[in-house]
């Protein structure tokens, strides 16, 4: 799991350096982490599952053995979280 918050002060981390494994070139700067990397691992798994199920909450509910509104509420929570990150 990619670290996204500073272990010392809990601030959001930035990407400082990216490296090409092929030619060893390093690109430095201060880049924002993708919004999806800021959500928890289980939430990322949920998003992946959602995409793999072609966005069908019904199929997700069957797969996870949960009810449709429970799965929809989980998705709503993630949407809310992503929206709050985007506002920052």
């Amino acid at each position: 799991m990619l670290p996204t918050y500073c272990p010392s002060c809990k601030s959001e981390l930035k990407v400082k350096c990216l490296k090409c494994e092929s030619c060893q070139t390093e690109v430095s700067g201060s880049y924002d982490l993708p919004v999806l990397s800021l959500i928890s691992e289980s939430e990322q798994q949920f998003i992946l599952r959602f995409i793999k199920n072609s966005g069908s909450l019904k199929e997700m509910a069957t797969e996870l053995k949960l009810s449709y509104p429970t799965v929809r509420n989980m998705l709503n929570d993630i949407i809310q979280k992503i929206e709050s990150y985007e506002k920052k």
Binding site: L66, S67, Y68, P69, T70, R72, N73, N76
Partner: protein, 190 residues
């Protein structure tokens, strides 16, 4: 199934069951409650009411249960529109129908006891203490109604996906509205 999970499902089965599935299971419980309730001379006449009758009939039992479900459905659906962006009416209908399941326990318990009869109790309220089993059944109604209200609250919360104090306030108001609607319908229709 873990012990905690089992108790969790008893008060909130809606994480696993909602929509048409919950409605189908709920209808089974309603049918059984209506049948057993009629034999036990018990009416569930109102959103959260239980009353003993002199001689219950199947027609009245099911009319009362139907009105009960309809009034709670109407009240919670209207409340849901105010506090939730997106929810399915079938989830509200299914979950509230299933929430009625604890009343089957009361109907069964009533079947096993001998009640003095509603009219006799009105004439002499002390008659309720004449039978120990009747007193136990009356006391049983308290946890059953509490269980029903918890189920109903979780049904509303899961179906609408709403959070915070607004869910609690909307639920209390809609439960009172459901009681008023059900009593009004019973007066006008039956």
């Amino acid at each position: 199934m873990k012990k905690n999970e089992f108790w969790g499902l008893l008060i909130n089965p809606y994480t696993r069951l909602a929509g048409w599935q919950a409605f189908a299971l709920g209808i089974v419980f309603i049918l059984l409650t209506g049948i057993v309730g009629t034999f036990a001379n018990v009416y569930f006449d109102g959103a959260i009411d239980i009353h003993f009758a002199e001689k219950a009939t199947f027609k009245n039992s099911f009319n009362f249960l139907g009105i009960d479900i309809l009034s709670v459905f109407l009240a919670l659906s209207i409340a849901g529109i105010f506090i939730s962006k997106n929810f399915r009416l079938i989830d509200i209908l299914g979950t509230i129908t299933l929430a009625k399941a604890p009343f089957l326990l009361f109907a069964i318990a009533s079947l096993l006891t001998k009640s003095p009869g509603a009219e006799q109790i009105i004439k002499n309220p002390l008659l309720i203490f004449s039978s120990a089993s009747f007193v136990i059944v009356m006391l049983l109604s308290i946890p059953i109604i509490i269980w029903y209200i918890i189920l109903l609250y979780n049904a509303f919360k899961t179906s609408t996906g709403a959070k915070g104090n607004q869910v609690v306030i909307a639920f209390i108001i809609s439960l009172l509205m459901a009681e008023i609607i059900s009593k009004s319908l019973i007066i006008y229709l039956i």
